[in-house]
Amino acid sequence: MLTPLVTHSAYSLLWGVLTPQQLVEAAASAGWNALALTDCNGMYGLPVFLDACKERGLRPIVGVECTGGWGRVVTIARTKEGFSRLTRLLSARAAVLNEAGLPAYTRFVTLGRDNKQHSEALAKADTLLWCELAAIAAMSDPGLFLLSDSPTFLREVPCSPWLFALLSTAHASQWRALLKTGHKPVLSPEITFLEPGQREVQRLLAAIGLGVTVREVPDSMLAPEAAAFEYARAADNAGEIGLSLASDNSGSAAWLASAPLESRFCDLESSLAEAATANRCITEEALSEPFGDFVFPMWQAAGATDEVAGTCAPNDGAGAGISAPVALRRLAYEGAARRYGSLPPAVRERLEYELGIIEEKGFCDYFLVVNEIIKKAKRICGRGSAAASIVSYALGITDVDPIAHNLFFDRFLNPGRKDPPDIDVDFAWDERDSVLEETVRMFGAEHCARVANHNCFRFRGALRDTARAFGMPDEETSAIERRIEHNRDAALASADSVWKDIFSLAIRITGLPRNLGTHSGGIIIVPGNIADHVPVERTGSGILVTAWDKDGVEDAGLVKIDLLGNRSLAVVRDAIQNLHENGIELDLERWRPEEDADTIAMIARGDTMGVFYVESPAMRLLQKKTGVGDFAHLVIHSSIIRPAANRYIEEYIERLKGKAWKPLHPVLAELFSETYGIMCYQEDVSKVAVALAGFSSSDADAIRKVLTKKDRGHRLEMWKQRFYEGSAAHGVAPDVIDAVWDMIMSFSGYSFVKAHSASYAMLSFQSAWLRAHYPAEFMAAVLSNHGGFYSTLAYASEARRMGLELLPPDVNESALRCKGKGGAIRWGLGMIAGLSESTLKALVEARGGDTTPRRSSIFRPFVSVEDFAARVPFSREEAEAFVGSGALDSIAKGMGRPAVLMALLKACTARARHAGPGLFEDAERVSRGAHISSTPHTRISSEGSPSSSKTSERRIALSQMQWLGTTLSCHPLSLVPGALQMPRLQAAALDRHIGEYVRLAGWLITAKEVLTTHEEPMEFLTFEDETASFETVLFPAGYKQFRPALLEGGAFVVEGRVEESHGAITVTIAALRRLPAIPKLAETPRAPPPSGFGYASKFGYQAASRN
């Protein structure tokens, strides 16, 4: 049979339409036993393809279709050497295109817009491909097969044993010409579509890629219709045609039966036979396993290769020349001594045990590399299972003592485990990028690449892209989206014909890869050249990434290090810094927040808004219900709150509160005594599988892993069967097995290992401690880092509830970030909407410093508005922001805000004029206006002149809403007409009305949608009024009714019954009504829009609107 050597999947980005799985599936069903994937100028789909082939028992062939303006060469890897050659070639081509800002998948010059830089870059990439391929063809053994149907290429490049003339079934008309070139022919089916109709999908994808409408994409940019699976598959019709080729099983060219060409090729019989044989040879010789063993980062490579060798070597620079195991051992012992003071036998024993395994498995370098990286940041938090390691603790990767908290190393590394270790580290969110950059610099750019994300079309994005390709304006698309959000079926049913087309196409591209993004923090460091292992390219934001996503690089054996961003680390850092500025120093070495009684009590009350990981409404409710706040329980709580475990939470609370319980099985009683017999941590699944069903530890690990995968379906079924069989064999009663399996299923989706939860709980305690003892500094840090779970508005309300005073931004008093001191928080200048970074920088420079300005001798405060205007450059829009936010009120000296704004605007104009005539002003206009001042005009307004008025409280609050995103001195509800005046209960008094039907006014601060056991959507909503926040539940019936009103957020009237459970209070919503929105400042004149009766709309249809 002829193996399809030319196929395109959707990983020919924005061109291909089939997923590799679909291709493999089709090939398997057609009876092929080998299949190549040759995407255009890329290998993005390779790992997925290999996986799919493995599953269907097909022999994968690894290739790339190198396409340029001159034609194409399909390259097929024969050896690993050849494969590396391909990855290097793709990386080199990508580099050329990236330089011009084009993505690596670009094939065509952008239509319609003649961008010289782009077309030059593309031409350069084409040339590069040509030259490299020609050079490869000339090599004695390049490790590659080159198949080309480009007449120019074949004509120019001399014959070579590796170069073939490609007779593709999709381009039969070219065969004669190709055969004449004198190169050996190879015959291959070509597959781009499963059915010819998919060509329209391809047209759409191309239009999206090119940024044009579908009608503008010419047919020549698409694959020919003959590249459909039907043509390729015609081989099944073997016997029907007389043309028999070679001695193989004769069907090879039977596709001709369906192509109406057979008679025309009779004379080519012998050539075609030869071509078919070539196909067979290539199939046999091609490389099918491109991936090998793990590739670890090398510590030596890091230490030895660059100028920062000193910093990379352990501590004192004595590292040069010593081996990794020695260095690691030394660092571990030193660190342990620092952590524990002395080295008790238990610690020593544990260290030896861990070091032994790490060394045995060759992971020393990996640890040392991570150690080098974390040295770059002040504050980090190890996450994942690595937190169970005493070596991590000793190196400072984590802050949790694994011995004290019973964390077991085996979950992280054990002798039987086959996959590489995985150390994930959190950094402050605003430092992470610089850490990553520093890491790349330290290890050398050619050794490093970030892990990519394959951004796939999701329905919404697909709809938007499709709509654009059909020329729909975004506004209309947004309206449709809202309708879909509300009621998808109704929206689809009522759409007109054009939108119906858009919908159906959007659904067809949903799930296909769209472009390359950057994985949140994964980085690959290899000893050699990264491009030898994986094609690399730059994303739109200029970051060098691998062509494969995190699963792909894992398949390829490339060991990644995850460096992730975490806002709470920045919160803790900033709060401590703020304390330092206020003259308060913490002894961080002796800081034991988890032992602090006040902190524990505060956590137990659920007073944890802003506190890392335990601030969500669900978590706070759980805290309130359990009433415990110690470290051990917090570890349990942060693990038990997970999507699928709701029903075990109630049971847990009751058991915690002393309900008698019987273990499902005696074995479990022992295993889970510390979590009251409830499986809580991810590793519990493995434990139970080993203990109850007699799984080996690697099988047990596998079942744990399957649960976290998205496409767990059928694989899980297999494990379930094995689990049931194993348990039954161990004499476990069927109902117990059922119950245990149910509990195991509660781990699907995501779940945490204990070590991870413990590491996070430590950070929770650090931030909780700060909240308990230094609320102003803490909340200031939360606000500056844009918190986590809630909006600025919600945090500001919480701060007010905590008794803190919120001071408006001030050009002299404020730092860029919010700062707390005593009982007040001073708003940061950086938190004002609409101010550019450069303006802020200029401001800080002009006054001589950011923080604690008053104390500094170089501090030059702004003494007046004129002074400010003279020293800080700003735009007209920024002037509005400065004035609107109130940042200039303190230097206004009795001038009203309008007068201040006018002064700033004048300064803007004056500056622009000095910057040179003609830049912003045109001379004629200036002169035209010149006679204005000479025509005296009395002030007519009864509204008062701009210089005198005093801005009202309400107006100040409204402009704070606009420029700061929240009000400062009052609750935003007070700006909503009628909200606080209506008869209602205040939220703070809810606990006195349990069981009653009440009405409240509330500002929606967060909402979480969940599915009931019957898969019906319902929602947990958190509101707040001026006294407190309150939790509500919207059950499915109410959800259907009120959901549309909720979409836009804002203020609501909430009515419902007050319920209490374990001391936590919720309101079950019976009715919900949206209150009017807060008026915008520009609307305050209470005037209708300029069109008055509305006869002039935005749409310029009627001439009326032109006037």
Binding site: S942, P1085, R1086, A1087, P1088, G1092
Partner: protein, 258 residues
């Protein structure tokens, strides 16, 4: 004149209550007068065979009047009293308009605007007409506000003099109310202030207005026009009535019209 909803009338004054002429369909009388005659009103008016529709004119600058209910202590009570007093007559179709006219001293200040808002709010649902003598009130804000509240803006036919309202016409409600004061601008200029309202509209002048009135009739449910040109009021009203009748008849498909 048999076009329903089109009312022509004159201003009656306490001193010449009996002036209501048979031709006049609409009478505008002051609040005190109307209030005083409440008990006997029916017979007086009907016996005179005169006004079948009435415009009750609230005292100028309502703010200062407490006559509606002796002992009323605040605005709300006062306006409630007004509402109570007229509501039945409004429902019965006897009071067609409730005119609140504000003198020149009622300026366009924030306080006055808020106060007006309250007055209009309290009297919501009544066939209100507001008239302003201060030109300051003629703003888009006021007009849009009146539209929202379905309150008519009184239209004036008055000399073009400073201190008198501008002669603009606009439809803000489902009713229109126009007052014909005079066109005697010359008297003012000559210092004969007493004669400003002493003006005899010519037939031509009134005939010019007829199409506009009929147009308003098409757009609104009730159109009232009263003549306040002093001693000529009754004559002008009668003349206008005739003109209108002629016009309406001319348009009736009786066959053989002019």
């Amino acid at each position: 004149m048999n076009d329903e909803g089109l009312y022509v009338g004159i201003v009656t004054r306490a001193k010449n209550t009996g002036v209501a002429r048979p031709e006049a369909w609409l009478a505008e009388c002051g609040w005190d007068e109307w209030h005083a005659g409440r008990g006997k009103r029916e017979e007086t008016l009907n016996s005179a065979g005169a006004a079948q529709a009435l415009c009750v004119r609230l005292p100028r600058w309502v703010r200062g009047f407490g006559a509606a209910k002796p002992g009323a202590t605040n605005l709300r009570q006062t306006l409630k009293a007004v509402r109570n007093a007229v509501e039945a007559d409004v429902r019965a179709g006897r009071v067609m308009f409730l005119l609140a006219e504000f003198p020149h001293s009622f300026t366009y200040s924030v306080g006055n605007r808020l106060w007006l808002d309250r007055v209009l709010g309290e009297l919501e649902g009544l066939p209100l007409v507001v008239g302003f003598w201060s030109a300051e009130w003629y703003t888009s804000r006021l007009i849009e506000g009146l539209k929202q509240r379905n309150v008519a803006l009184c239209l004036y036919d008055a000399p073009r003099l400073p201190g008198l309202p501008p002669a603009v016409e606009v439809l803000t409600a489902d009713r229109v109310y126009a007052r014909f004061l005079s066109r005697n601008g010359a008297a003012w200029k000559n210092g004969q202030f007493g004669h400003v309202l002493d003006y005899r509209y010519t037939k031509k002048e009134l005939a010019n207005i007829v199409p506009r009135l009929l147009m308003w009739r098409r757009k609104a449910e009730a159109v009232g026009m009263v003549f306040a040109n002093g001693r000529w009021a009754a004559e002008s009203a009668a003349l206008m009535n005739r003109l209108l009748s002629a016009h309406v008849e001319a348009q009736l498909p009786k066959g053989g019209g002019p």
